[in-house]
């Protein structure tokens, strides 16, 4: 009994050789089996887009609840003038609740930067970045409730469960980092569709968003499921895996070529690498004091969202294709607009500005598309005395980097910001545009399921070429 257990392995093949063989040699089929069926490609392999992309990756800053356009980026002087008057035109056929007369914004607007973009006092830091930002002020959606609107924003459908935009992007482009999932979502919401907002639906499972933490979990404690083992030291776990691989290798000698069996051997190696890499990527202690400050990590108000943003940059930098950051269900001010919009903005303003500056100084902003959006806007009319109701008819989103026109504003709402009227952009159009920036034709990015070719944009969507640099 003095032989090392590993000698059996050495007799046949060293582990290193085993890995080499299983990722080349007859094992080149190994990764293929990660997908159902016998396709010849690793589902996460980098794929060539349909045309030259402007952006390689996306960071999506999601403001859950519905930030008010007329209190943030869509300046409406007439709303101030006509404060208290009844809305002079008809309200939508379907509304989520009853609202009263026009309500002016409690915040002052000023113009910033070379571009002269109007920003309210809620976002003093983001205001300094307006020359990098492309505002879309004429967004509209089809659903006036959080659940429907969230699903529409994330998946294009407010009726059925469909793959999320991050899943489509990862499906279309693959991942540039083989030891991390291609689509990460940090502290995602669990309500209003929950995981359906980052799920892959009928797309293969590897394209589903991997949640790091969840709503209510502080960003500092957010982790990938099953990523840690508190019982087993790493070196011992390595031996456990090695022993499994010995058994697997031996079995393969008798089975003939088998994609699935070979793929599974590789999947353990990937998991082991991921287990090492993910915590390191999440370790913000490796960042300089200046960077931490830039994201507001030194302030309890901005720390949590700042961590999410900084993590997002670190993931993006390492080739994660789509990263979502969520400011979860805070922006729903049916009442206490003054107090709560102010608090919300204070939590995200500095981290967002920090992210934009940091990406820019690292040269990442050029090919990283940053998207800031909520699921809808709010009514310019008052709900109660200090609140606004849901409004899918008009809202503002903005993008930066990744091939959009910097210092630009697109589309417009009516005098009070109730309806989008000029150059209206629906969610489907936004999705088509984002895919376009990534080099993907939204009409060609299809997946056949249950006898139909599905698209992120279903049968809709027009690319908004006017906002591209």
């Amino acid at each position: 009994m003095n032989r090392h257990w590993n000698s059996y392995l050495n007799q046949t093949l060293s582990r290193r050789e085993l890995l080499r063989v299983s990722s080349t040699g007859f094992g080149s089929l190994a990764l293929a089996s990660m997908l159902h069926g016998a396709s010849s490609a690793d589902p996460m392999a980098v794929k060539t887009p349909h045309f030259k992309p402007r952006a390689k990756r996306v960071i999506f800053l999601f403001m859950h609840g519905g930030p008010s356009q007329v209190d943030t980026f869509d300046y409406k002087p007439l709303l101030k003038r006509d404060h208290g008057k009844p809305l002079p035109f008809a309200r939508p056929k379907v509304v989520s609740g009853e609202t009263f007369n026009l309500l002016q914004s409690p915040w002052a607007f000023k113009q910033y930067g070379q571009s002269g973009a109007w920003v309210s006092d809620l976002f003093p830091e983001v205001a300094k970045c307006v020359d990098d930002i492309c505002f879309v002020k004429s967004m509209w959606g089809s659903n006036s409730r959080h659940g429907g609107a969230l699903l529409e924003l994330h998946t294009g459908s407010d009726t059925f469960i469909r793959p999320s935009m991050g899943s489509w992007v990862t499906y279309g482009l693959g991942s540039e980092n083989s030891s991390m999932p291609g689509y990460l979502t940090i502290c995602p919401t669990q309500s209003h569709g929950g995981a359906n907002n980052f799920g892959s639906a009928f797309l293969p499972a590897p394209y589903a968003g991997t949640a790091i933490g969840s709503v209510g979990v502080p960003a500092r404690d957010a982790k990938i499921p099953f990523i840690t083992n508190t019982e087993t030291p790493r070196n011992i776990q390595r031996m456990e895996i090695d022993y499994s691989q010995v058994l697997n290798r031996k079995q393969l000698e008798t089975t003939g070529p088998d994609h699935a069996l070979e793929g599974r051997i590789e999947s353990f190696e990937l998991a082991f690498r991921m287990q090492a890499e993910a915590p390191e990527l999440q370790d913000l202690g490796q960042e300089s004091e200046a960077t931490r400050k830039l994201y507001g990590l030194d302030n309890p108000v901005t720390e949590d969202f700042g961590r999410q943003c900084l993590m997002a940059r670190r993931f993006s930098e390492k080739g994660v294709r789509f990263v979502q950051v969520s400011h979860t269900y805070k922006w729903d001010q049916h009442a206490n607009l003054r107090r709560d919009h102010e608090q919300n903005a204070a939590e995200v303003d500095k981290p967002i500005a920090g992210l934009l500056k940091d990406l820019k100084s690292r040269g990442l902003l050029e090919d990283t598309l940053v998207l800031w959006a909520g699921e809808f806007g709010r009514t310019p009319t008052a709900e109660g005395s200090d609140g606004r109701d849901h409004n899918p008819e008009a809202f503002t989103i903005w993008m930066a980097g990744g091939g959009v026109k910097p210092g630009f504003s697109y589309g417009a709402t009516d005098d009070y910001g109730y309806y989008s009227v000029v150059n209206k952009v629906h969610f489907h159009d936004l999705h088509a545009t984002i895919l376009h920036l990534l080099g993907l034709d939204h009409k060609k990015l299809t997946y056949r399921f249950a006898g139909r070719d599905f698209r992120l944009t279903d049968v809709h969507g027009n690319v908004v070429h006017d906002i591209m640099a």
Binding site: H4, S33, G193, A195, M239, Y243, D258, A450
Partner: protein, 1020 residues
């Protein structure tokens, strides 16, 4: 008429007439008309258009005459009455065709001419397929007599041979997992190996089919098809607490081999089967209709009709996919692009579901219907009881409304006083009164030293004080003696902010409103301080100072009452209301309105809000009062609207009841108590989700899927491609669900039996004869062996739709008993194994992996009585259950009993390809991805059960070699080779050193490696 048209278009139609070649106009059509239709029309108006605009097809003459959603497109012989002609002439209102530039005059003239000629036609504009698609032709039994004969034919054609028979160990492992989802126990393996009789294998199959574990495995397969889940999970994730009854129904149905035609009928129309005197049978049939109700629904949708139509769509699509493998949902907005399913047929079928009742209401958040599983007299009792509660609530609502109306009417008549009171509030709220702080300045009383009260002597600091056994309001009264009558200031010592205040009463008079205490004030400072409450008049001698809160008494430490020293006494809002004799609640509303409006020009109080000379105030207030009274009398106008607006000053104030007459208050309190008692006494019965009959009506086509845009009503009937045009429509007496089930289970239905035998085949052989098991339409794949499929389908019906007989038929075939051995020649000829030259190797499914690990460890229990382990109540919102805590996912019961929470699915289910539980999916993936490896390495299931297995091995009275043998037998259904025994022992010895001598940990490492190995989760 012709002349008129020619004139109108400025082109001579007569010249064209001459071109009629005496062939009835066919040549004219081909030469002149068809090119125009193809160039300008059929892009949007043919059966292949996506979508078919306006429902109009111009494929055939009949199509054109029938027209679309706007009616006939052409009236032969009458161009002026033909919509098509009017549209191209732009004389049909908004309808201008084709989109873009107007047709040229010659083109218009040709079409007008053609209609005038009676619209002669050539061949169809779009070629129609000549042969009927195979799946719409009923199956016919071929001449061969066994599965193997049919397969043999396919293999022989390619020169292939089937693989050799599998050995007995492989066979029992395969069959046991296949039929029960569990590994065979070493004892079962031994018994099978020792049974040398010729029918050992058929006996094994019979034993497995008779096991209650069988339904738990095969019921789960059906649950995939039925998109089963325990929560709604679309927008609002409400718990389907009673969904489990459907799940348990399915498991039981498989165990008792319920004939599939009955199984189908119960799920679509169990409630419509003739009533059963046996209550259990009746409940079972109701429960079965849960199939229709379990889908994911948009429960918060502001458009109720959209919600309803989406639910109908989900039911229709699921039903047709599950039982007939057709994607009928595609025809909601346009005729099916690939299968002969017109939109009209969609609405014929949708009418059946629309006429059924799935939901109690379509409010935000909507409520689904549930059956009460109790005898009729109990159900009646429950309904009567619920009606009583409802009536009580209504009575409370009516009384409150009457009292609110009465108070508002009083208030509305006194707007002048309200305005003056509001002005006083605005004046006095600017006066900042500092707390006195000097305890020697007056009388100090510790909070707990009250003379009379029902709150704790020691008040809680960081949360509201709500003594459990005491009924509110909560209060503390202090009797204070003063030598002199006059104004006194009342201050309390509390925490700096957020502590809240109670309402202040002096000698029975309300003097100041309280503010609710704030909860969870972890961040607020510990240090307390004095706060000013109010200045109140005290009488000489004894006075009663009372602090009161209706529900959540705030913390304070002590109370100070001292003589007022301020020159002008600012009044509290309550005191001001008393002074002006107005309602304090409405006054608050008005003050809030004035603050918000702040001089808005549109405000009806604009003049008041911008008044600068306060001397004018009384006169202006009086003027307003008169005007408002006029408006009330008139019952209309802007002032009237202002008074009655939802957010106007006379809306019911917060705590409205405190202003009611005391006898009304008492009456309401009594009614509240009665309602509460009634609710508590609601009898509880088991409930099941399910559908019943609704308002029965035919449905109009929703043009392009929009219920705002209606076309013609469609009779309720079945797919015309199968049953033709001559169907008897379903009448107004029933939704038609039972007829739908009867149609699907009729002997000559071409799809139902084929689809189900194909599903069974898929689960046994890893791949359907039609590989796209949920889609038998043109976009699905063709059957690899159509004769075999038909033979099985016919057999299935002949055998009384028995699923167990079908298992026997398939599993006793030589094909099923083949080995999975690799053969290079066969592999190269048929790499996908479509012809079945070997048994495919398969990865275990999520449930099998979890149940398998737990079985090998000895941990899995089989005493679960069914039911739900969700701790939530029905309709409660599900939090993130995947985080654990709320659901005991590690519970050692079979995975089929673990809740499927949509959008928050159990990690193990998600990692190992449980299909998205919102869509029918009879063909699970078997992916291999890194997160699965992470599960194997780090999950609690793996850690707990590898430890359990290690314990079990160590407790065995055998040597280490014996332990290794046991582990292999249990996990892999085979003994280890001597080399493997040796290797394992070496490994354990080595790991014991790594674990610092911990033998248990070393064995656990071995168990983890063994369970993580491919051989454990892949079945040969």
């Amino acid at each position: 008429m012709l002349a008129k048209f020619a004139l109108f278009t400025g082109f001579s139609a007569l010249t064209l007439l001459a071109q009629d070649a005496g062939d009835g106009g066919a040549a004219f059509f081909e030469k002149n008309v068809r090119p125009i239709l193809i160039a300008k029309c059929v892009g949007c108006h043919s059966s292949t258009s996506q979508p078919i605009m306006g429902g109009l097809k111009l494929d055939t003459r009949e199509d054109a005459i029938k027209g679309g959603s706007r009616g006939a497109a052409i009236v032969p012989g009458n161009p002026a009455e033909s919509l098509l002609i009017k549209a191209i002439l732009h004389t049909a209102g908004a309808l201008k065709m084709p989109p873009g530039p107007k047709m040229s005059d010659p083109e218009t003239a040709i079409l007008a001419q053609w209609v005038q000629m009676g619209a002669p036609w050539g061949k169809s504009v779009v070629e129609k397929p000549k042969e009927k698609y195979w799946a719409f032709v009923p199956p016919v039994k071929g001449s061969r007599n066994s599965i193997d004969e049919y397969l043999q034919a396919g293999l022989a054609a390619k020169g292939l041979k089937p693989a050799k028979p599998a050995d007995k160990r492989t066979l029992i492992r395969r069959a046991t997992y296949d039929l029960t989802g569990l590994p065979p126990t070493p004892a079962e393996v031994e018994a099978f190996l020792n049974d040398k009789s010729a029918d050992a294998y058929p006996k094994l199959i019979d034993r497995l089919l008779a096991s209650p574990r069988y339904g738990e495995r095969w019921g789960r397969h059906w649950l995939d098809v039925a998109r089963y889940a325990d929560s709604n999970g679309l927008d609002e994730n409400l718990v389907y607490k009673n969904a489990f009854r459907y799940r348990d129904y399915v498991i039981a149905a498989f165990n008792k081999d319920k004939p599939f035609d009955l199984f189908l009928t119960e799920q679509l129309a169990g409630d419509l089967l003739p009533g059963s005197s046996d209550p259990a049978t009746q409940y079972e049939r109701w429960t079965a209709t849960g199939f229709l109700s379990l889908g994911a629904k948009m429960l918060a949708e502001d458009d109720p009709l959209k919600m309803e139509m989406d639910i109908v769509d989900e039911q229709l699509d699921t039903t047709m996919r599950a039982f007939n493998g057709l994607t009928v949902g595609c025809a909601r907005c346009h005729d099916h692009k690939f299968d002969p399913i017109p939109t009209a047929d969609y609405y014929s079928l949708a009418g059946i579901f629309k006429s059924s009742k799935t939901m109690e209401n379509f409010k935000v958040v909507a409520k689904w219907h549930e059956y009460v599983l109790a005898p009729k007299e109990d159900r009646d009792k429950l309904a009567a009881h619920e009606a009583k509660i409802e009536a009580k609530r209504k009575e409370i609502g009516n009384i409150s409304k009457a009292e609110n109306d009465r108070l508002a009417a009083i208030g509305m008549a006194r707007m002048g006083s309200y305005l003056l009171a509001a002005a006083h509030v605005q004046r006095d709220q600017d006066v900042q009164v500092a707390p006195i702080e000097d305890e020697k300045a007056g009388v100090v009383r510790a909070a707990g030293s009250y003379d009379n009260g029902n709150v704790p002597k020691q008040l809680e600091k960081k949360k509201p004080n709500t003594p459990k056994d005491v009924k509110g309001p909560f209060y503390a009264e202090y009797v204070i003696e003063v030598a002199q009558a006059g104004d006194y200031q009342v201050d309390v010592f509390d925490q700096e902010k957020g502590a809240g205040t109670a309402s202040l009463y002096v000698n029975g008079n309300w003097e100041a409103r309280g503010a609710d205490p704030v909860e969870n004030r972890e961040a607020s400072p510990e240090a307390g301080g004095w706060s000013y409450i109010a200045i109140v008049p005290l009488q000489k001698g004894k006075n009663t100072i009372r602090l009161e809160h209706p529900s959540r008494f705030p913390y304070f430490e002590k109370l100070l009452i001292a003589k007022n020293t301020l020159p002008r006494v600012p009044l509290s809002r309550v005191q001001i209301a008393r002074k002006y004799d107005v309602n304090p609640g409405y006054l608050e509303n008005l003050v809030e309105y004035l603050r918000r409006s702040n001089g808005a020009t549109a405000s009806p109080l604009y003049a008041w809000e911008t008044l600068t000379d306060q001397a004018q105030a009384p006169a202006l207030a009086a003027k307003y009062e008169a005007e408002f009274n006029e408006a009330v009398k008139a019952g209309k106008g802007p002032l009237y609207d202002f008074l009655h607006h939802k957010f106007g000053p006379f809306r019911a104030p917060s705590n409205a009841r405190q202003y009611y007459k005391s006898e009304v208050r008492e009456q309401l309190a009594k009614l509240d108590a009665e309602a509460k008692a009634l609710e508590a006494a609601t009898p509880e019965y088991p409930k099941a989700m399910g559908v019943t009959e609704g308002k029965i009506d035919d449905l109009a086509i929703n043009i392009r899927g929009s219920h705002w845009n209606l076309g013609a009503k469609q009779p309720r009937r079945f797919l015309r491609v199968i049953s033709g045009d001559q169907q008897t429509a379903i009448g107004p007496e029933t939704s038609g669900r039972l007829q739908l089930a009867q149609w699907m289970t009729s002997k000559d239905h071409p799809l139902t039996s084929r689809v189900m035998v194909n599903r069974i085949w898929r689960y046994h052989f890893g791949r359907g004869i039609v590989p796209t098991v949920d889609n038998f339409g043109r976009l699905g794949e063709k059957p690899s062996n159509p004769e075999l499929l038909d033979w099985l389908a016919v057999r299935f019906v002949e055998d009384g739709w028995s699923i167990k007989k079908m298992h026997r038929l398939m599993m006793l075939s030589n094909a099923y008993q083949m080995s999975s051995d690799y053969d290079e020649k066969s592999f190269n000829a048929d790499p996908e194994n479509a012809l079945l030259w070997r048994m495919p190797r398969r990865r275990l499914e999520a449930e099998e992996i979890r149940d398998g690990i737990m079985t090998v460890s000895g941990g899995l229990q089989h005493d679960h009585p069914g039911g739900s382990i969700l701790k939530y109540k029905d309709r409660q919102y599900v939090a993130n259950t995947s985080k654990g805590g709320d659901v005991d996912y590690d519970k050692t019961i079979r995975a089929v009993y673990i809740p499927v929470v949509r959008s928050s699915m159990y990690d193990v289910f998600r990692a190992f390809d449980l299909p998205d539980p919102t869509m029918t999916n009879g063909d699970r993936d078997a992916t291999v991805v890194a997160p699965q490896a992470l599960f194997m390495m780090n999950s609690s299931v793996m850690l707990q059960h590898s430890a359990r297995l290690a314990d079990r091995l160590m407790q065995m009275s055998t040597d280490d070699a014996g332990r290794v043998r046991e582990a292999y037998e249990a996990a892999l259904t085979r003994p280890p080779t001597p080399q493997e025994v040796d290797q394992a022992q070496t490994y354990v010895a080595h790991m014991q050193k790594e674990w610092n001598g911990d033998r248990r940990k070393a064995w656990q490492s071995f168990c983890k490696s063994l369970l993580a190995a491919n051989e454990f989760i892949y079945l040969n």
